[in-house]
Amino acid sequence: MTVSVGARRSLPSGIEYAIDATGLRKTYRSRKGRQVAVAGLDLKVPNGGVHGFLGPNGSGKTTTIRMLLGLITADSGTMRVFDQELPAALPSVIGRIGAIVEQPKFFPSFSGRKNLALLAQGIGVPKARVGAVLDEVGLGDRGRDKFRTYSLGMKQRLAIAGTLLKDPDLLIFDEPTNGLDPAGIHEIRATMRGLADRGKTVLVSSHILTEVQQVADTVSIIGRGRLLAEGQVADILAASGGESVLVGIEDVHRAGTVLTEAGYRVAPLPDRMLQVSRPSAGLHPAEITRLLAGYQLYVHELTPVRANLESVFLELTAEEHLGAHPTDRTRA
């Protein structure tokens, strides 16, 4: 895969990384076969601030997080968290890491309070801390209700409360806003910002870029288990060259092939739309129309768009969408 936009742009030097992983690989083996989930990923998360960990569905975000937490073993690669080698040093650094992987996972027939009390007891945290963290996430009065009866937002908040039991320096949230309403999303965002402002490092994964754009200081964009771009949000935007064109056309698939062969980058969008860019050279909407018309492909809509992180993201992950699901034209 050729990556020209924001490729491997290093973060400012001299920064100490909360997470520094290189060459991570993981292949899942099941009866149905092998599935390469992470393929030589490098991930650098600066100390302090919110770091967005972006990638389309199935790009290996959760897998990477599981490797960091020792839930699964990496096939190869090195991981350092707070300058300590993982997984060997996991027992000593785990107290500084709070993580929610995928959905919050608790015992459904125990209350939220009981679930946290068990965790607190297990790691030797005083019981009083349970009430404190429940209050902190606004679950103080619902703590005695069964976890099963919680709304999605409450479950998420309970999970956050759980991570706060340890008072961690690094928080890892895997798609924390999945399924939440706007108010819930806003709340989680505010929580992440608040944690970062208190000097903590927050790694938040998402496949929806706009969600992270507002809160992240830095981002890593991955696709198919590899790093596609990393750096500060502003830098990535600047380097993308900015321009792209939205093309509305009947036969999106053929148009995509034609444009790709002509050296354009193409990302499929819903409603028979394509996002087209050409990072290496200039982008002239008229050229696109002419090119497609030459193949009896007629454009019914043509809109130039200014670069935002979303378009960069789509551009970077375009090949992945085309490669993995040729018929799936919906955005995740």
Partner: protein, 324 residues
Amino acid sequence: MISLVLAELNRLRSRRLTVITVLAVVLAAGLFQLAVNSAVSPPSAAELAAGQEQYQRDLREYEQNTEENEQMRQECLDQGGDVDGCDFKPRLEWYVTPAEAFADIAPTALMFATMMTGLGAFLMAASFIGAEYTSGSIANWLTFIPQRWKVFTAKAVAVLLGSGLLGTVILGGTLASAALLSTSHGGEITSGQALTASAARGVGLVVAMALISFGLALIARHTAAAIGVLLGYALLNIVLLLLFGVLPSLQRIRPFLPDLNLQAFLNKGGYSYTDSYPKVESGGTTVEQVQHTITVAEAGIYWLVLTAVTLGVAFIIFRRRDVV
């Protein structure tokens, strides 16, 4: 580590299934004490009178048929019966059941209680682990305590302590209650020491069953799998009984069957059983019967090895396995 074990024990005792299982086991063992009570009770005055009356009636009838009696006696003796066994004159003890001695009823009560408690402990342990995988909370737990050996050990110790406590209470209670009932009806307590030892071995069996179930559930990551193994074995047992008839040499696996070893470990004298090997000879088919005994010590080793192997395999798998 201690806090980890305490947390696991806390979870074990807070689980609804644990509470239900304990209640069910207590109820079953308690109900059995009703049977114990009636067994150790001497016959009541009414039973005695009714028995007497029937005895008198039968005796009168017997004495009226002297010729017939002699004929039956002769036939019985011809068939190889002994003199006493061929005496059909009614005796009073045939009509009035005397109180059963403590030493006779207690092993039955212990066997029943051990099976019930073992079954309960099996269920309790399987679901203790299964629930963690069904809810996914094992993944969350491991993000707090990443050392798998610690997590494994704490869970195993909690299962051991929990089932040990349950076994001690139920089996101890069973023995004590049987003794109490027996004495209250004027019975005498004998073989107390041997029975206490048997109850202690029963506790060991309950713990072993719980740990094996814990291991199975951990290997399979599901409660149902452990229970499935149990049901599967029950089914296999029926199939085996049929197969033994067809394939007599298969009987050689019997010393390795859990249910025989369970009885062998609990009973004072181990467990004896007879293998039958049909032999076709010139005169027809004869059946050669070979008696075997599984001693208490052998059964003890059997359970120890079975438990250790299950736990060992479970640990090796759990230590390496991806938790997703």
